[in-house]
């Protein structure tokens, strides 16, 4: 049996049937809150069980509990607040209060109905310090926090429809991966989080994990990217090439997850693990400086934080970063290789990007040629 959903039950809150008809007839009279893509994605993730057991945006009790102790108010581990912000003017103009239904719209398109339970203000500086461990506005997560509205709205929601998704063909929801793993007869599944094309270091880490489990879920995060990053479709093509040529048949599922990236380092590593538990994964590969940015977090902080959560319900796998050793003649890591630094060739993402950007295939000890070709053949692989 794959992992049970976090909190015991998979949330499914998509409006359908008679209830949907009722809401459709009332849409126009309800207050509407236009949300950015990030919040529309959160809403869909909430409704489709990615954030189980959350059934909507956090109310104040849960928010404060997550901020201060990394647990929901019922003591369940939860590290990243999932909150909906609004401007004070909007709240005053609409005169909304607890019990009201609000329509969340994205580009005018109704996304979800939020049944308001709580309206509260937040201290963004404190939020930044707790979640990101810094108040520095140069941190992308902190910067994004400071730009949000002053008021938070908590309550359960029901999805009307998700925001347009260009990668729908590759998007599987928790209910779907669970059926898929069951069909495949997998009892143990390791999930791999990525935002990059695969090089040999990634392959080494994934195969090390795959040695101990029935299947691997390669789960790239799709969505907002910064300039110079690989395009989502390039990452998919590159992984398809790798899986086709270098993985045994039927042991890997490639699917994208549209979820916002916060760069919250250790807290986000735990969040990524919880989310993958909801997809049915039993194990989660935690990278070096997982979800980090700049030098805000120590390289192994994301590993250490897992000690605080013996009740997480998913097993973290700490596989050390791989490098090519000229003496060993293959990919290894510092735990299994006795040779000195002079033999070690580390795979630099920046160097790979430069070579691929020039249309060059990197050396085979860095990247599989089929993967390199899949990237190079794309007319414009970078954002």
């Amino acid at each position: 049996m794959v992992s049970r959903p976090h909190g015991g039950r998979l949330v499914r809150r998509v409006l359908s049937g008679r209830r949907r008809e009722i809401f459709e007839s009332q849409y126009r009279e309800m207050p509407r809150l236009e949300v950015p893509l990030e919040r529309a994605i959160d809403a869909e993730d909430l409704a489709r069980g990615v954030f189980s057991p959350l059934e909507g945006f956090m109310v104040e009790d849960d928010y404060l509990s997550v901020l201060s102790r990394m647990r929901l108010s019922n003591d369940l581990p939860w590290t990243i607040p999932i909150v909906l912000d609004a401007n004070r003017e909007w709240v005053l103009n609409e005169g909304v209060s607890a019990g009201d239904d609000i329509i969340l719209t994205y580009h005018g398109l109704p996304i979800a109905v939020l049944t308001l339970e709580d309206i509260y203000s937040w201290d963004k500086g404190l939020h930044a310090e707790k979640v990101f461990k810094t108040r520095d506005p140069n941190h992308p997560g902190v910067e994004a926090t400071y730009k949000r509205g002053d008021i938070l709205l908590g309550g359960r929601l029901e999805l009307i429809q998700g925001p347009p998704n260009p990668l729908e063909r590759y998007t599987l929801w928790p209910v779907e991966t669970r059926v898929l793993f069951k069909e495949k007869g997998w009892r143990t599944v390791a999930a791999f989080q990525t935002r990059n094309v695969p090089h040999l270091g990634h392959e080494y880490v994934q195969k090390a994990a795959l040695t101990f489990v029935d299947g691997l879920l390669v789960h790239p995060l799709a969505g907002w990217k910064k300039r110079g990053d690989y395009r989502d479709e390039v990452i998919i093509r590159a992984y398809e090439a790798l899986i086709t040529h270098y993985y045994p048949r039927g042991v890997v599922v490639l699917s994208v997850l549209r979820m916002n990236m916060n760069y919250a380092g250790p807290r986000e590593a735990v969040h990524h693990a919880i989310v993958r538990k909801n997809f049915g994964a039993t194990h989660f590969i935690v990278g070096r400086d997982h979800a980090g940015v700049g030098s805000y977090y120590g390289p192994y902080e994301a590993w250490e934080i897992f000690r605080e959560f013996p009740d997480l319900g998913i097993t973290p796998l700490f596989v050390r970063e791989a490098y090519y050793c000229r003496r060993c003649g293959g990919m290894v890591n510092e735990k299994v290789c006795p040779h000195g630094d002079e033999y070690r060739v580390r795979i630099s993402g920046t160097r790979l990007r430069e070579m691929l950007g020039r249309g060059e295939r990197p050396p085979e000890y860095m990247m599989r040629p089929e993967v390199a070709d899949a990237i190079i053949s794309h007319p414009d692989p970078f954002i």
Binding site: M1, V2, R4, P5, G8, R9, L10, R12, R169, L172, V175, E176, R178, V179, L180, K182, E183, K184, V253
Partner: protein, 69 residues
């Protein structure tokens, strides 16, 4: 009493469970709590997902159409 079997747990754990029920309610006795917890731990995956067989078949259809199965 129906078709029941006896199980053994430590006295200490039993007392803790009894106290838990006294303070929190929700269960008639320790046996009921144990039965609930065991169900939670080993119940079928589909129960925690809450899918009907028809819904599961629809999911399989999508997975087939996308080439996953």
């Amino acid at each position: 009493m129906g078709d029941k079997v006896a199980i053994e747990i430590s006295r200490e754990l039993y007392e803790k469970a009894r106290k838990f029920i006294e303070e929190n309610g929700g269960f008639k006795d320790v046996s009921e709590l144990v039965e609930f917890l065991l169900n939670e731990a080993i119940s079928d995956e589909s129960e925690s997902v809450g899918m009907t067989p028809e819904e599961e078949e629809k999911v399989k259809e999508r997975l087939r159409s996308l080439g996953y199965i």
